[in-house]
Symmetry: C2
Subunit: 170 residues, 2 copies
């Protein structure tokens, strides 16, 4: 429960249309709308098919008068692993619609992911953040997160699809 009429709950297959809408909203906000190419079908299959590739939480606003509900935020996460420490939880994007910000809903969503991590006996939570995003960095540090790229020299590397396919075929 993030706020009087906001409930944070596990996503269901029927939520994927609205989750995709918010993913695209966030991509516009981040000025990279062309990068959000995922489809509703892929989102549904990847979380609710035979093998879950990610899991999601949604923030839902309910109204007792009309019995209509609406999603106003989401988080995606998955489990990660460390050969020294074991289980970890990885927080992928989390988002709250602009009109609903400033009420602690984002913190509540992140905290729910942390609770799931603790429940699964995870030894760490990880995520990435853009180096210039001072507001987010301040928020993360306030809650005990640390920038391990700066403190421990860990850099993130990536092969995109083209390079991955080429490397696999070499």
């Amino acid at each position: 429960m993030a706020s009087e009429n906001v409930v944070i709950r596990a996503a269901r297959p029927g939520d994927c249309e609205e989750i995709l809408r918010m993913i695209k909203e966030l991509a516009v906000y981040e000025k990279m709308p062309e990068k959000a190419t995922l489809t509703e079908e892929a989102l549904r299959d990847d979380a609710f098919g035979d093998q879950p590739y990610y899991r999601a939480l949604v923030a839902e606003v309910g109204s007792n008068l009309t019995d209509r509900t609406k999603l106003i935020g989401y988080a995606m996460y998955y489990f990660c692993y460390c050969p020294w420490l074991g289980r970890g939880i990885y927080l992928e994007d989390f988002y709250v619609e602009p009109a609903h910000r400033g009420r602690g809903i984002g913190t509540s969503i992140m905290k729910e992911v942390a609770k799931i991590g603790v429940k699964h006996r995870c030894n760490k939570m990880q995520w990435v953040c853009l180096n210039w995003n001072d507001v987010a960095i301040k928020f993360y540090k306030k809650h005990g997160g640390k920038d391990v790229t700066v403190e421990e020299n860990w850099h993130l590397f990536r092969m995109d699809q083209q390079e991955l396919t080429a490397f696999a075929r070499e």
Copy 2:
């Protein structure tokens, strides 16, 4: 098949004792042996229990004469996810025993992980590398990897167990 008598295959529960031995070898090599606190039981449960938190490959040396085999390398991986692109594969540590280096076994192990990624229709492979590890960075770049911390300003953040537990309880 990495080399004449080396086979790279999916790990089995009975491999966990040897995988743990190699995890500890790698931790010594990295001058942080005290950090490798995971147990064989946890390694087995976390890959082969009800919910796989990671998956592993091993490199096995076989001998037809004695029918005895020995593990000389391993990789751990799991699936990750991106709200824009969908499925990805995350390469956790991979390791080859010092006596068996220089024969391309490490490359073969990494390539097997890439192949699994392609098979699962992953759009990227990710991993981390220490900024001062020039040999590894050169190797990764040669094969199409890029340092997205430098090129796209992504920094890795982490909450360790103490902070995670505190945040979840706040």
